[in-house]
């Protein structure tokens, strides 16, 4: 009868409603030259099943119980993990043990460093955690180096995986710098604002001391192409010179000058008599903005062996980002150019708002103070 009872249980729950997820550990390894910096998250429940953490038998695992068992946890876990670089075993040094929460509960976080005898080109990982206790356990790996992230799942059926740590193809590098370039122009509000300020009057034309809507799209487009090209040529020039180390300007000066350029561009919109040749302004201040781009690029850490390539990719990324903005903005401005509100609201009020924001930046950057938290967005 007991036999049948069990059978009935099985039929009743042919659709289990799992309250937990199965056992997984999460490992992330970052490879740099001959070193691996690792983080390994193992569920506290699994560690308890493996080595017994509930020392006070209260049915709960406290931080104290994890902390006092740290040595046991580390020796259990690392006896089941082998990192091998070109036939040689990499030594593992434990850095720290912390705690984190995943969707299904608390995990012990083991931070460690793997030290391999030589620079890592190929890495073989042998993972045997918990398989003897829980045959459905899996280890989810993220392995990255500077250019590439690979993932793998360790299971009882496939406990060993081998990886090639390529230097990263040229294309990957190009893509990375392109992306950085696009994001930089989008997230760097000051460059964006400068460009927009110059473009606002591009759909208008000066006649008899007054702004008039341009007669056709070509006229507006020609003006925009002039401005954008001038800006591009100028900032590419200084960006390249600064990137190869031929010129250098202190960043406080550069950042302040960039803010100043936005102020002046705004003023030029309000007092068009100052200059009719906005492309010239785009070129002059473009030189300053180029230094700003160069600072970002040096923060990214330019690879010395492919300097030119990454420089060009970054620059092209900046141009792409710029073009996308122009393509989005120009038709809108063109469509609105005839409306009665374009001049007072968009051109004048818009320029005044831009001037105010840029003045705040200017003050903050020149005096190195924080007036508003706007800085944190930039």
């Amino acid at each position: 009868m007991r036999h049948v009872l069990f059978a009935i249980l099985i039929v009743l729950f042919s659709q289990p409603v799992w309250a937990h997820k199965p056992s997984d550990s999460y490992m992330s390894l970052i490879v740099q030259k001959s070193q691996i910096s690792g983080r390994w998250d193992i569920a506290v429940r699994d560690l308890n099943d493996a080595i017994g953490l509930d020392t006070d038998d209260d049915g709960a695992i406290s931080w104290g119980e994890v902390r006092t068992n740290q040595a046991e946890i580390a020796s259990y876990a690392f006896s089941r993990l082998k990192l091998q670089s070109s036939e040689a075993i990499c030594a593992i040094a434990i850095e720290d043990q912390l705690v984190d929460h995943h969707t299904d509960g608390a995990y012990a976080v083991l931070q460690f460093t793997g030290i391999c005898p030589t620079e890592i080109h190929g890495l073989t990982i042998d993972y045997r955690l918990l398989f003897d206790l829980d045959a459905q356990h899996k280890g989810l790996l993220r392995l990255s180096n500077e250019t590439l992230t690979q993932t793998a799942i360790f299971s009882q059926e496939s406990p060993t995986h081998s990886f090639t740590m390529t230097e990263g193809s040229i294309w990957q590098e190009v893509r990375q710098y392109l992306r950085e370039g696009v994001w930089h122009i989008w997230l760097g509000f000051d460059h964006l604002l400068f460009l927009i300020t110059l473009l606002l009057p591009a759909v208008l034309i000066r006649k008899d001391g007054q702004w008039k809507a341009v007669p056709d799209f070509t006229t507006a487009l020609r003006e925009v192409v002039c401005i954008v090209t001038a800006f591009t040529v100028a900032h590419s020039l200084t960006l390249s010179l600064a990137a190869v180390g031929l010129i250098w300007l202190p960043s406080r000066l550069v950042e302040s000058a960039i803010a100043g350029s936005v102020v002046l561009a705004g003023i030029a919109n309000l007092y068009p008599r100052i200059t009719q040749r906005r492309w010239l302004m785009a070129f002059g201040f473009g030189l300053i903005h180029g230094f700003g781009f160069a600072a970002v690029l040096s923060d990214l850490g330019l690879p010395s062996d492919s300097l030119l390539l990454s420089l060009m990719s970054f620059n092209i990324g900046v141009e792409i980002g710029q073009l996308i903005i122009v393509v989005g903005l120009l038709p809108l401005a063109y469509a609105l150019r005839d409306s009665s509100s374009y001049q007072p609201l968009v051109l004048r009020a818009g320029s005044i708002a831009i001037i105010l924001v840029a003045l705040i930046w200017l003050a903050e950057r020149a005096l190195e103070i924080s007036l508003f938290s706007i800085q944190s967005f930039v």
């Binding site: 049948v4 409603v17 509930d54 038998d57 406290s62 984190d100 829980d134």
Partner: protein, 397 residues
Amino acid sequence: MNGSRFIMVLAWMGWLMFCQTLVASGEPFRPTDDRLVLERLSFNPTNPVAREIRALRSSLAKNPRHLESAVHLATRYIELSRSEGDPRFLGQAEAILAPWWQQSNPPPPALLLRATIKQNAHEFDSALVDLDEVLSMQPSNAQAWLTKASILTVQANYDDARRACQPLARLTGRHVFLACLADIAGATGESAKSQIVLRELLDHPRLSASERVWISVMLGEIAARTGDAQTADRSFSEILKTGVKNQYLLGTYADFLLDRGRHRDVVNLLQHETRADGLLLRLAIAEQALNLASFRDHVATLISRFAASRDRGTNVHVREEARFTLVLLGNPRQALPLAQMNWKVQREPADARILLESALAAGNRDAAKPVLDWLSINHVEDRRLQHLAKLVQQESR
């Protein structure tokens, strides 16, 4: 979709992504208090179940190749996986039986348990292979026949399922045989007959508690499908009143209540059941209808749980994920392929329903065809499915 609604949906998706990153990318920390409880175990070590498991483990440790004690412990683990809703126990059962599975001819008890574990992982075909092997060695293994019938029913292979029930007539109590058949009959156009048989079975004085739950839930499900709300409600709530806590029952009852628009009752029923994904899903659906504040957190939790399940490369939760994507994320285009993938694996009324609903919402009538065929070939009696099928057919005109 008009512009403002599109923007609303975009904003909503953005918010969900934001929540997901909040849940997923915790920075590791060092607790300051030793007494901070990180995890509560399923059992207190002094709990009788824990003690029993410990005793079984230590006797097995002395003799790890002893089949009988391994099967005993693995069986207990499988039972625990069901009562606790924790798939870890299944992995532990598997680990215990691993030595026998590596043999070329595993002994029937080990094979039978492997089939059960595969059934839970939705590896139905492979489970059936194991069961047939058991039955070729032990044609009178009632357990193997019943499990086989159950899997074949889930696969909508009703003729073979009925055939698998037949041997139970002489191998077990009559009630197991009848219930096996009635379960199939209830889905295939013989609801009335099935209900009569099941009700008679309930009067059987020697039914065990778990058999009573099984039969009552079946009765409730059939009544819900045929639109007999009163009977369904009575079947479900009477069993709940006996104090049985059973996750399958809770899920089925919650679905019934959701269909009746009784969202408040669903919240009352499930508000403490947030650990089980399937129950949390139903709770969130009710919370959405009632506009409760807890809704957003629960949706964010579900997103990260489905993501975690995908990361490990398993898809046991596809039905739930399809429902989640359709009902809570309002994204029929993504829900439909999930529902289709699920239909390839399991074909119960709930699977049919999510596929019909997704196909309707996505405006893809062709995707509904397999379910329409299934409905007409098997004469499935399910008011809601028939209504949905009618909508699909109307749309096609």
